[in-house]
Amino acid sequence: MKKETMMKTLKEAISNVLDTMFFQPVQLDESNSNFQEWFSIGQSLCGATVSFNGPLAGSLYLIVPLDLLSEITANFLGLKEEEIHEDQRRDTVREALNMIGGRMLSLADKAGAFKLGIPELMDENDLSDEKLAALRGDMVFIGTENNHLAAGIMIETGNLKLET
């Protein structure tokens, strides 16, 4: 399994999940962005992370600005943005990552050798500029009509050779 394959399936999963469940068509940014350039200065962010195990082990993460998270949560639940609570936003970012991870792994491996963990919220401290800049792994920068989000994959161990 090539590293490119994992990234390709991650991108496909992001587009599919955000479009199908959150009515949010996206454009993937292929240029070499980094978090500082991608998000506006001082923009409040929310993030989730989930581990996976199998032929490769590692984790996925999803980072979404709060204003966009309110919008996609409202779309998901069929409510108005002003009706959305903090708990619903947190639950939605976890569930979005859960669906992206599940979709990605099932696209990458039809045999079902991967096991996805339970998504967890990222700590606020982990979303600071310094921590985001130090985040390892490969990132996917995603544009929506009016906003930006990001996802990434960190592969830590694996039995399969990664060809970069």
């Binding site: 599919n16 999940v17 199908t20 469940m21 949560t73 998901f76 639940l77 069929g78 708990d87 619903q88 639950d91 939605t92 976890r94 569930e95 859960n98 669906m99 991870g101 599940g102 979709r103 792994l105 099932s106 491996d109 039809k110 045999a111 079902g112 991967f114 996805l116 339970i118």
Partner: protein, 142 residues
């Protein structure tokens, strides 16, 4: 005939979405029950009459496959149809779920029609089974 539905998912948002889809699809639903994992679901099943269960797989404490296994071991619960609604989309997991006794499988992300179609089929089958059961009782010698 009204059906009582139990939705099992550790995401409260996903439970709300599935509930909304069922509601707007026009099914005759009596009670909606919700549970955040398999253990909570079993408590509901032991205390309340449920006609159909929609369950996620990947949940803390007791996952969806463990829930199905527990239900199949119980005389009262084993005939309740379970539809798996999960991100676990590999053919191996789908086959394993069906082999364990799931009556249907919906992969997340899904379209509302996916839930509607599968529920429509299963509710039809359950109605037929109940009708046959009632006819057997009426036709029996006492």
């Amino acid at each position: 005939m009204a059906f009582n539905v139990l939705i099992v998912d550790d995401s409260s948002s996903m439970r709300s979405v599935i509930k909304k889809i069922i509601r707007v699809s026009g099914f005759d639903v009596g009670e909606y029950w919700e549970a955040a994992d398999g253990k909570e679901a079993l408590k509901v099943l032991m205390n309340d009459w449920v006609d159909i269960v929609l369950s996620d797989i990947n949940m803390p404490n007791m996952n969806g496959l463990e829930l199905i296994a527990e239900m199949k071991r119980d005389e009262l619960l084993k005939s309740i149809p379970v539809v798996v609604v999960s991100t676990e989309g590999s053919e191996k997991i789908v086959q394993e779920s069906m082999k364990m006794g799931a009556r249907g499988y919906v992969k997340k992300p899904f379209q509302p029609e996916d839930i509607k179609r599968i529920l429509s089929n299963i509710m039809g089958e359950v109605e037929d089974e109940k009708r046959d059961h009632d006819e057997d009782l009426e036709g029996g010698d006492f």
